[in-house]
Amino acid sequence: MITNFFVLSPRGDTILAKQYRSNESSSGKDMGAHERTHTEAFFRKIKFWDDTKSVAEDAEDISTSSVGIESSSSTSVTTKRMGDAPPVFVMPDGLTYFHIRRNGLVLGASSARNVSPNTVLEVITTYVICGLSLIRISFCLSPLLGQLLSTIARIFKDYCGTLSEEALRKNFILCYELLDEMIDFGYPQVTRTENLKSFVYNEPIVVDSVPLTGNMVNPKTASAAAVHKPVISSVSANGRKTTGQQNSEIFVDILERLNVLFSNNGYVLNSTIDGCIQMKSYLAGNPELRLALNEDLVIGKNSGRYGSVCVDDMNFNDCVNRNEFESARTLSFIPPDGEFVVLNYRITGEFSTPFRIFPSIEEVSPTKVEITVLIRAEMPSNHFGANVIVEMPMPPGVTAAASCSLIHAPGTGHASAEYIAAEHKIVWTMKKFPGGAEQTMKVKVTLNKPCTTQIRRQMGPINMCFEIPMYNVSNLQVRYLRVAENMVGYTPYRWVRYVTQSSSYVCRL
């Protein structure tokens, strides 16, 4: 239950503002002003998040055990970077704010909610701040709202093509219309793109996508976002618009993000795959689709069965019919328009990691340290890792200089390694890392102080970022994807991609 909703630009200007409920604390004429100050205060808060307060709270929790000692809260004030604000917090005005970050943008909403004697919470205010580098929607009904925020972000993107300050500014009327349909009196209503289509009349104004810089892209949405095309103009389902010949096509991504932690001797300490099958559909007429996965897929770690793919848990989109899933591992569904996730899965435990990292450190002299990092690609040689970035933090303040030398396997694209003094880290980049190859980096670090254990500890961990196209670690395969009924002359283009990405691929030093 949301009362307000707004979108602010990175500078804190209001782009969209929608009020669903009246706020009792303010009334009448000063309402508008009141709201503006809210968004301003909220913006300041997230921009200059200072968590001393929450830390003090935590400290309280901890110090409950220190009965005999009069504790005083720590006075150290640490000013934090943007992005350190937890997604849910209360502002002094009693409103609760929730915000999320997407695609380099931050989506947030905030609300204070009222709770009745029993359970249900009531949201007073919801805000969206949005902008080039910052879109925030905040809500209150915690997970519900967090989820809703992502959904709204997705819908805006589906409709406007891209999610950027410019797109929202140009399409603000459309966004209002969407917001109107999506939320009524603070209750989320329809949030499926294809359902919304029949209620929404405004047409999107297409904006060129803003080129996003590499590390701002959220890996989860980056791949399918490659298609920046608003759904509405491509669809002639309701007969209202028939704008020429449209390609009937559907994009399917099998996306796996890896979380792996290696110990310093190369053993895997912790590993999970966080995977999903994501689609973006531009199919005319919304036909029913059938998607078949590996027949010997096993769900549940302890189910006792054996198969080539064993996932811990799997969850499905609303539209998926799972009648034949148990028997034949086939799903049928009518794809909603736009981008959506068909299913998510999670795998923990042993799997063959695509890269293994073997670091070694040698103290040549008290002030000289030599670090060797060997990385071996263990996937088949017809695959390769792309845009590989290996980062290794160095102790700040004591590192005087570091020189890197590389031994590269053949077939490696442009590669370089250097010490970036401002960020105190060594960055090693490779355009291409062929499967089966080995790469080595030797770093000679000169310290301006003798090396102590503490300085030793500040080196590392090694963090690796990469993307492996057309490869997935789990072996989960799409056996086929086809239109359920045979329709004559209906041959949609199907683009199936497999992508493996690093989420947190870390080796301790």
Binding site: L144, Q189, R346
Partner: protein, 868 residues
């Protein structure tokens, strides 16, 4: 502006649309475009739905500032509400609901009731939400027009989204009115479960939330519902998953222990979806983690084998890392401690200072929690101290102090290492901890006095916490080793008592001084006394609070780990809440104020000021309402009046005997009570009138009553208690026995410890089902019962404790007051009194768990109000 106006009046539709868009654009960025109100309004007369939507958007925004003008649009609304296009019908109903102008609501009712029965489900679902909107503005109207009943009908609608919105609207009304309008019956339950499979993800959340509030009749029903809800755990929407988890957890309680197999199976099923939540975006992870924190406290076995998933990832945001640490500490056990320690040690070398500190303190907390692993934990801490990183050492010192308190006299060997790092300490908390350790183990540290000496050099600049610790530690040191430290103690005491302006420090200094100077042995007992061993604080939420919070999973309270009323302002007709959503700091202030008030009322009025205002009021003392219970013809010539009163915490039966025709002076009687519903019996069976009552005169006496459970007649549940007490009196002069019955006036049984915290009261009030509410209206109040202050005074004399008062929103001159009372049997009663200015009457609403006694308590309040 003028141009815009011209464009608005343009006949070209495209120009018009553009103009309205421009208006809305300026409105959004905060420019005032209200002067165009009428011009924009004119555009509403159009068949174009796009334009109509824009105009409505504008209308909603300015309806607050221009209520008069909005009325002009009413006709359009009414017309649109019967448009042939269902989208327009729904749009009109939705917009009308958003315009919060009182006068518009009258026009809203007819279209709304039509819309609620509309053939198009889209209109029906919009109308359902509109009822909730209307309830927010004019609750009376909703009840009057029977909209609530229609909403009940909508629950059996064929369209699942309509069902979901109906549920949402009813839940909202139930919550804001405090009435149980959303009652789930067996048939409703079936419909909800059926709709659950079909409706949108948000609809599923509404339905699951309302299911969570339902209490299944028995374990089997609970199990049945859980079975239907379990598939929701595989939903991709985290909100649905969390709500499903909430329903399952609350119903699991009801399944009881006889069904341990089913519970174990469920526990297994719950773990994977919860873990999967951690793979979503960091924001949702945060929410999930806060909730998991609660779940782990309630049912640790669900995730006992999953501790690895809570290990922090390199790229987790700091707020996620912090929450993960909390959960790791909750899940740590003998089995996984080695793994955890390795992990925590690794965290302690990270960059983020706050995270490192938390990791270090987590190691200490593991030591406190797991006795057998304590040694390993301490080894890790020592290793970390060796790194000499300032903040690591400080944090380690702080937790080691806790470890010492948990395992006294076991790990002193590490004190030496700590002492080596004295100079790195610069934070007050760390210093204070270290000083405490030195003081506590002064006899084992050879140079304890020297160490303290170094701290004393800067005594004046230290934080008060450090000063206090220094003072205590020095005294401890002196008591253990009086020869060497006499000077030092003298100096510290001087500084504490003469040079400091901190009252705590001064007071403590004086106490020690006096103790030391008069009786050093007593000082030893006091200062060196054994301290209670601290306990593992891992599962630190109280079970009662935890249960409340488990019921609140997937809401904000589960994130703040506070019950909803502690941070939410109630909107209407409900309970009193202060501005609880203010900072904790201010809460403390409130408490402080209350304390001050309490002590002022407590009789010790040092400044002689508190009494002034009180004196203006009449002092009430409880009196027993005397009723004639026996006439002379029955009681051997004696007329008897009787009643009950409480005085000084004791209950007395007051007896007034009139010697009408007994023929002699009467003075001595014996009394016996029959078994009664209250367990009252005379403490002393002899009744003596002093002086004796001569014929023609009368006398009073009181018999002290005792509570005797053996004398209590149990009242069957659901029946009202019989207030009657049957009494037998034996006239010792002529051995004649007579009987009479007297009704107990229940207020005499209210005990003095019935006062409650406001929050506790709210909790209790809410926990009682509305079905157990009792209502009464007392009219023709006497003069001393019309003002709330007077009633409060009067009630206080009867141990009816004032909790809070507040004006009723939206009702001029009405005010509600809340009272609590507790009978000597331990039954608690809660009352809500509503007064209206200028009206000589009050409404009484009483809630209690002890339903049988509720009626009595209610009539007691009534009679007190009436003053009879």
């Amino acid at each position: 502006m003028h141009e815009l106006r011209m464009e608005l009046h343009s006949t070209d539709r495209a120009v018009k649309v553009d103009a309205v868009k421009k208006v809305i654009a300026s409105m959004t960025v905060g420019k005032d475009v209200s002067m165009l109100f009428t011009d924009v309004l004119n555009c509403v007369q159009t068949g174009n739905i796009e334009l109509k939507k824009l105009v409505y958007l504008y209308l909603i925004n300015y309806s607050k500032t221009q209520p008069e003008l909005t009325l002009l649009a009413v006709n359009t609304f009414v017309k649109d509400a019967s448009d042939s296009n269902p989208l327009i019908r729904a749009l009109a109903v939705r917009t009308m609901g958003c315009i919060r102008v009182d006068r518009i609501t009258e026009y809203l009712c007819d279209p709304l009731s039509r819309a609620l029965r509309d053939e198009d489900p889209y209109v029906r679902k919009t109308a359902a939400v509109c009822v909730a909107k209307l309830y927010d503005i004019a609750p009376d109207l909703v009840e009057e027009r029977g909209f609530i009943e229609i909403l009940h009908d909508l629950i059996s609608d064929s369209n699942p989204s309509v069902v979901a919105n109906g549920v949402a609207a009813l839940s909202e009304i139930a919550e804001s009115s405090g009435k149980d309008v959303m009652r789930i019956t067996a048939s409703v339950l079936q419909k909800l479960l059926a709709a659950l499979n079909e409706c949108t993800e948000w609809g599923q959340v509404f339905i699951l939330d309302s299911l969570a509030k339902y209490t299944p009749a028995d374990g089997r029903e609970a199990e049945g519902i859980i079975e239907r809800v379990t598939p929701r755990l595989q939903h991709a929407n985290s909100a649905v998953v969390m709500s499903a988890v909430k329903v399952i957890l609350s119903y699991m309680e009801l399944m009881g222990s006889q069904n341990s197999d089913a519970i174990r199976a469920l526990t297994r099923k719950l773990a994977p979806p919860l873990v999967t939540l951690l793979n979503s975006e960091p924001e949702i992870q945060y929410v999930a983690l806060r909730n998991i924190n609660l779940i782990v406290q309630k049912r640790p076995n669900i995730l006992e084998n999953e501790i690895k998933v809570f290990f922090c990832k390199y790229n987790d945001p700091i707020y996620v890392k912090m929450e993960k640490l909390e959960i790791i500490i909750k899940l740590v056990s003998e089995k996984n401690i080695d793994q955890v320690l390795l992990e925590l040690k690794e965290y302690a070398t990270e960059v983020d200072v706050d995270f490192v500190r938390k990791a270090v303190s987590a190691i200490g907390r593991c030591a406190v929690k797991l006795e057998r692993a304590a040694e390993r934990c301490i080894a890790v801490l020592l290793e970390l101290i060796q790194t000499k990183v300032n903040y690591v050492v400080q944090e380690a010192v702080i937790v080691i102090k806790d470890v010492f308190r948990r395992y006294p006299n076991r790990y002193e060997s590490i004190i030496a290492t700590l002492c080596d790092n004295l100079d790195t300490l610069d934070e007050p908390l760390a210093k204070a901890s270290m000083i405490w350790i030195i003081g506590e183990y002064a006899e084992r540290i050879d140079n304890a006095d020297e160490l303290l000496e170094t701290f004393l050099e800067t005594f004046e600049e230290e934080d008060p916490a450090v000063q206090l610790q220094l003072l205590t530690a020095t005294v401890k040191c002196f008591l253990k080793n009086p020869e060497d430290t006499q000077d030092m103690v003298q100096r510290v005491l001087d500084m504490a008592t003469e040079e400091s302006d901190n009252p705590d420090l001064r007071d403590r200094g004086f106490i020690y001084w006096r103790l030391l100077s008069t009786d050093p042995d007593a000082a030893k007992i006091v200062v060196l006394g054994d301290k209670p061993v601290i306990e593992d604080d891992t599962f630190k939420l109280e079970p009662a609070l935890l249960n409340i919070l488990i019921g609140q999973i997937a809401t904000l309270s589960s994130i703040y780990h506070k019950p909803p009323d502690s941070f939410v302002v109630r909107r209407r007709a409900g309970l009193p809440t202060e501005e609880d959503d203010e900072d904790d700091e201010e809460d403390d202030d409130d408490e402080y104020d209350e304390e001050v008030r309490d002590s002022g009322a407590g009789g010790v009025d040092l400044l002689d000021m508190g009494g002034m205002s009180v004196n203006d009021h009449k002092q009430f003392t409880p009196t027993a309402p005397m009723t004639r219970v026996a006439g002379p013809e029955k009681a051997g010539g004696i007329e008897v009046f009787s009643g009950f009163v409480q005085e000084g915490g004791k209950i007395f039966m007051e007896l007034e005997f009139s010697n009408v025709s007994a023929g002699q002076d009467i003075s001595t009687f014996a009394i016996q009570l029959n078994k009664n519903a209250f367990g009252l019996s005379p403490a002393n069976q002899q009744v003596i009138f002093q002086p004796p009552i001569s014929p023609g005169s009368s006398g009073t006496t009181r018999v002290e009553m005792a509570m005797n459970p053996a004398m209590q007649v149990p009242t069957p549940n659901g029946q009202n208690v019989n207030p009657q007490i049957q009494v037998a009196i034996k006239n010792m002069h002529n051995n004649g026995v007579f009987y009479f019955a007297v009704n107990l006036n229940f207020e005499c049984l209210f005990s003095a410890d019935g006062e409650m915290e406001k929050t506790a009261f709210i909790e209790a009030w809410k926990s009682i089902d509305d079905r157990h509410e009792l209502y009464a209206t007392v009219s023709d109040l006497p003069a001393d019962s019309t003002s709330i202050e007077d009633v409060q005074q009067k009630f206080a004399a009867y141990n009816i404790f004032f909790i809070a008062r507040r004006p009723v929103p939206n009702a001029e001159g009405q005010e509600v007051v809340y009272f609590s009372m507790k009978s000597v049997h331990g039954m608690t009663f809660f009352a809500e009194l509503t007064f209206k200015r200028g009206v000589n009457a009050a409404k009484v609403c009483l809630k209690t768990e002890a339903t049988s006694y509720g009626g009595l308590a209610k009539s007691a309040l009534e009679s007190l109000l009436r003053g009879d």
